[in-house]
């Protein structure tokens, strides 16, 4: 993990970025693009994020050792490597591929992703990723349209999260490119994840997940992870 000294100035960049040119919020999404607004859930669920070429994730030796430690510990019921077991954020793309619904709110200037009442993340159109971001659990995101495909570019992640429920590791150099494609009926979507992380993987690789829309009547229940923690948290 890159040791990064947090200064009092750091959150200025993270929290209060002055964006004089930020477009006025609130315009409806243009009709020519599919509208991803709504609640979604991964279907089918898979605990593993697997390369679409059918090969194992191209882990470097050190990262492979970490992954195997995660698998071995989990087999013994030990999930202390998994920060979500103490209610810390899942990171990306895991927050979307767990067995929980999330919602997308699509506007012309930004997309909002909210999994129940977990940590939300935002992807802004017409912006560039920061050059030297203060790492965050869910990173930084910019969005663009490629025809009817929505492409979200993400970086600036902390390395304390994992990529999937099995514990596939990543470093702060993770660069994630997601491509969202709406199904013809508007009730399904597929997301392709291009994963680049030179500290963890020998080369870039791509995974894919499918999602289905939740019924329009679906309302997100309040989820209080910390309340469950008192009985479920592993001892550390």
């Amino acid at each position: 993990m890159t040791s990064k000294t947090l200064s009092l100035l750091a959150p200025v960049a993270a929290t209060a970025v002055a964006l004089a040119a930020l477009p006025t919020l609130g315009q409806a999404a243009p009709a020519k693009h599919p509208d991803f607004t709504g609640a979604w859930i991964v279907s089918p669920y898979s605990a593993s994020l697997k390369p679409i070429d059918g090969k194992p994730a191209p882990l470097k030796p050190e990262a492979k050792k970490v992954y195997e430690q995660h698998l071995a510990a989990a087999a013994k019921g030990d999930k202390t490597w998994d920060d979500t077991s103490i209610c810390l954020p899942e990171g990306l793309p895991r927050i979307m591929t767990i067995k929980e619904p999330f919602e997308i709110m699509q506007k012309s200037n930004a997309l909002y992703f909210v999994a129940q009442n977990r940590l939300p993340w935002r992807a802004y159109f017409n912006e560039k990723l920061p050059d030297d971001p203060d790492p965050m659990y869910l990173g930084y995101h910019v969005a663009k349209w490629e025809g009817s495909k929505l492409v979200i570019d993400s970086a600036g992640f902390r390395d304390v999260s994992v990529l999937d429920d099995k514990g596939l590791p990543h470093s702060e150099k993770l660069h994630l490119t997601e491509t969202y494609v709406m199904g013809k009926d508007g009730k399904t979507m597929t997301v392709t994840y291009k994963i680049e992380d030179p500290d963890t993987f020998t080369h870039a690789w791509t995974a894919k997940a499918s999602f289905k829309r939740m019924p329009s009547s679906f309302q997100f229940p309040e989820e209080v992870c910390a309340e469950k923690l008192q009985t479920t948290a592993p001892k550390r």
Binding site: L25, P221, V224
Partner: protein, 292 residues
């Protein structure tokens, strides 16, 4: 554990936890208030003030001072959206009241038994051993307390919905437009909210609020029967969002009461990650929260 640095209203704080941040902030607010003679009430005002905890003369009941003032968006920031029914974007509460009564420094009209509980909580706080509340356990703050948080909020409007994304503890309020409250609302800390427009005012009705949370930071009680109506509308050319809140609770309150709060348009701010669970050094022990 990692240290999180937070810049809030122009004051840099090294926050050891969410709760400590709030406590530190309140302390700062108190200091600011006590150093601002212009804020102090006049003798006439003092004489005419109703008997409240704030002027009880009992030092063990001293309230935590409010924060006054606010930071506006710097020159050149995006102007407010001219549509009076478009609240989208980032807003920041002006000031910060530790107690949410009908007027600053005035407690909610609690029934006697609940007033005694509030006094007990204030005394515990002033002894440095505040009673456990929801926020110190990383549970949602409850309502209306969440709306009185010195962190930015972001409003997003989508068909049939208005959503508030709070930076604090990444809490989310979803308002379902033009719907009736369900007959059997499952209790939750932020309740179930339905909303409708009355002209340019968004009227939000919230019920089903878990009685374990407090009305405010001082510890005023509400029950599961609490009912909150909030009226959101833009003022000041869209640079402020006024929220008129009415709280009623037949269990803990003598009668409903109302107050108004104001949020500043802050297009220069992007909400950041706020993760209570990461560094919850104020986790309660045996029902008591002690800063560690």
């Amino acid at each position: 554990m990692k240290t999180t640095s937070i810049l809030r209203n122009g004051s840099a704080l090294l926050a050891v936890s969410a709760s400590a941040a709030a406590l530190a902030f309140a302390g700062l607010a108190h200091a600011q208030n006590s150093q601002s003679p212009s804020q102090a009430p006049s003798a006439a005002q003092t004489q005419n003030r109703p008997k409240t905890l704030d002027n009880s003369g009992d030092p063990t009941l001293a309230l935590t001072g409010p924060l006054r003032g606010s930071t506006v968006a710097p020159a050149g920031s995006a102007p407010p959206n001219p549509d009076p029914k478009d609240f989208q974007g980032v807003w920041w509460l002006k000031g910060y009241e530790y107690m949410l009564g009908p007027a600053p420094g005035v407690e909610p009209p609690l029934k006697p038994a609940y007033m005694e509980i509030l006094k007990r909580r204030i005394r515990a706080k002033n002894r440095g051993v505040p009673e456990t509340d929801t926020s110190t356990q990383c549970y949602p703050h409850g309502m209306p307390r969440l709306m009185e948080s010195p962190y930015p909020i972001e409003i997003v409007q989508t068909p049939g919905r208005v959503t508030i994304l709070h930076e604090v503890a990444h809490e989310v309020r979803r308002f379902y437009l033009n719907q009736q409250q369900p007959k059997d609302v499952k209790l939750s800390f932020l309740g179930h909210s339905v909303a409708h427009w009355e002209g340019d005012t968004l009227v939000v009705d919230t019920v089903g609020i878990d009685g374990r949370s407090f009305i405010d930071d001082e510890g005023s009680s509400h029950s599961d029967k609490e009912h909150i109506v909030e009226r959101f509308h833009k003022i000041d050319g869209g640079r402020q969002l006024q929220v008129d809140t009415t709280v009623e609770d037949p269990v803990t309150l003598e009668h409903p009461y109302s107050y108004s709060r104001f949020f500043q348009w802050r297009p220069d701010v992007r909400p950041s990650e706020y993760i209570c669970e990461e560094n919850n050094r104020n986790a309660p022990v045996n029902g008591v929260t002690v800063a560690q």
